[in-house]
Amino acid sequence: MIQLSENGYYGSFGGAYIPEMLYPNVKELQENYLSMIYANDFQREFHYLLKDYVGRPTPLYLAENLSAKHNATIYLKREDLCHTGAHKINNTIGQILLAKKLNKKRIIAETGAGQHGVATATVCARMGLECIIYMGAVDIKRQAPNVARMKMLGATVISATSGSQTLKDATNEAIRDWINNPVDTHYIIGSVVGPHPYPDLVARFQSVISEEMKSQLLEATGRENPDLIIACVGGGSNAAGAYYHYLNDLDVRLIAVEAAGEGVYSGKSAATSILGTEGIIHGSRTLLMQTSDGQIVEPHSISAGLDYPGIGPLHAHLITTGRAEAVSVTDENALKAAFELSRIEGIIPALETAHAIHALEDISFKSSDVIVINLSGRGDKDLNTYMEYLDKY
């Protein structure tokens, strides 16, 4: 039985390792999040916005050509069709409603690929709250279209220039902002990472993905459960959402696809479950890439959204206990899969999602298996990268 403990642990992973300056805010969330998000009026508004603003339920699409190629029944859960182009908005809608309940006036967030930043800027515009997005200086360069979208939505984008200037450092800067603004500010974390209750909070908001999958699969196949669910994992929010209502259905194989970068052992990789060891990152005890001295190592992936040196504590627990199987896919194979899906299904996936598509080549399954791949985002933001490889694939 996979269950969060009272103190916010999945097995030995999780908890809240935070400096005292963050304690009152985190405690406020810990004490209130469950009662607030399950209140009737909250649920009503959350589901109304998911339906009419985000465009849920997202389709569960039978990818016939992909199925024929891989000799199985493959469905794509079309999170790429959500407003703003990825699953990220499921969480930001939930958290902005929570921020309003907590009377916060100012929203901060970190972003890697920019999808969470855009999703946060979007809901802040909708709700009329000030929005500050921290983004690594390196990521600002490689995800320019999303930076422009955030600005057009009225957000202030602050370049994180400390450390390696990517997602890890943007997260550090957002946490420091929260320390400096302890009363009026809510921090919308974009993934199932950070101190308790964030991993659980974000997973609950993203769990709408697997909730819909259950009823859609029942209608399409006559049973709620697929044989496999495949999702990419950086921090792991789309995977957490796709697994959530299946965590204790042991007949469903959960496949977590990490970014191998230029190769798991190339020194330029983000395959945390293989390269990581137990430690603490961003307030959570989990698996992370670090030196023997405990310094956090900068990962590499062609996809900014998977370029994170840790994984959420839920995933650390699922993988170390064998409940989920970790697979890693290189930059090159993700690119191949992105072009393949574009050409045979007419769907351009995000680079992050492309890793999950390629996993079909890396795992074994039976021709009778029903597989759901969580198509977490669309590839518009990655067009610059894709264009570089147009002649190659």
Binding site: P19, E20, M21, R176, N180, N181, I280, D293
Partner: protein, 259 residues
């Protein structure tokens, strides 16, 4: 084992000057020089920062010094090697400040044993939860007579302040403002009323005020409301680019202590 910090507090309760520096900065081997120069200049307690790649509670000055120190080759093992003979040089109370992940990777027991061997008197681990300390580490520190100091902030509730008072065995680190280190200078009236509120609680543990203490004036003001004050970022900033760190250290402390 003697704990120089708690011993010190038995007889000294006023205007205690504590100074933080990042081990391995500006140069890898400056650690001993800086400790000795601080002690000789009249600093009462020295806080040695273990450089970390992701120091959540620290501002840009300490972050940058930490990155530079890591690039210089500083690790916990190197630091303990540098401190091996420090007790033949000075008896000033020494505190290590670091993030919990560093201790976990080094091994908490090994870390504590090495603290005993080198004569470290106390620890500050800002991201170690009180409950986890109480449950898993309190006995280990007590057995080795190593003290620990927890933080409070303007937002810390009174019931929690009493919990911090009960668990802290060194001092209470009174964070002067809602901020990361090195962000603000000067002390506002709002901060003064917070200091007065803490003082009126008559806590058992000595209190030192830190964050935003940068010069003689803020040190003296803070010391009126607590047992003393902690200077960090301002000292690191002063050391930047200095070749003769012993002289630079003495110059900086003289400006704080001498009218």
């Amino acid at each position: 084992m003697l704990n120089r910090l708690t011993k010190w507090f038995e007889n000294n309760r006023e205007n205690l000057l504590t100074v933080y520096f990042t081990a391995g900065y500006p140069q890898l081997d400056d650690t001993e020089t800086i400790i000795c120069a601080l002690a000789e200049s009249g600093v009462n307690i020295i806080e040695i920062g273990i450089p970390y790649s992701d120091p959540l509670a620290d501002g840009p000055v300490i972050q940058e010094s930490g990155m530079a120190a890591i690039d210089n080759g500083m690790t916990l093992q190197v630091l303990f090697n540098q401190l091996a003979d420090i007790r033949t040089k000075t008896q000033v109370p020494l505190i290590l400040m670091g993030y919990f992940n560093q201790l976990l990777q080094y091994g908490v027991d090994k870390f504590l044993d090495d603290c005993v061997k080198t004569g470290i008197d106390g620890l500050i681990i800002p991201d170690l939860p009180l409950m986890e300390y109480e449950q898993f580490y309190k006995d280990k520190l007590t057995q080795r007579n190593i003290s620990i100091s927890f933080l409070i902030t303007p937002q810390t509730e009174e019931s929690r302040i009493h919990k911090v008072d009960a668990l802290s065995t060194g001092f209470i680190y009174v964070v002067s403002d809602s901020s990361i280190t090195g962000m603000k200078t000067g002390i506002s009236n709002q901060q003064i009323s917070y200091f007065e509120r803490i003082k009126s609680l008559q806590l058992k543990t000595p209190q030192l005020i830190g964050f935003g203490i940068s010069d003689r004036e803020s040190y003296l003001t803070a010391s009126k409301y607590a047992n003393g004050a902690i200077i960090g970022s301002a000292f690191i900033k002063h050391l930047k680019g200095k070749n003769e760190v012993d002289k630079a250290t003495a110059d900086f402390i003289n400006l704080i202590l001498k009218p």
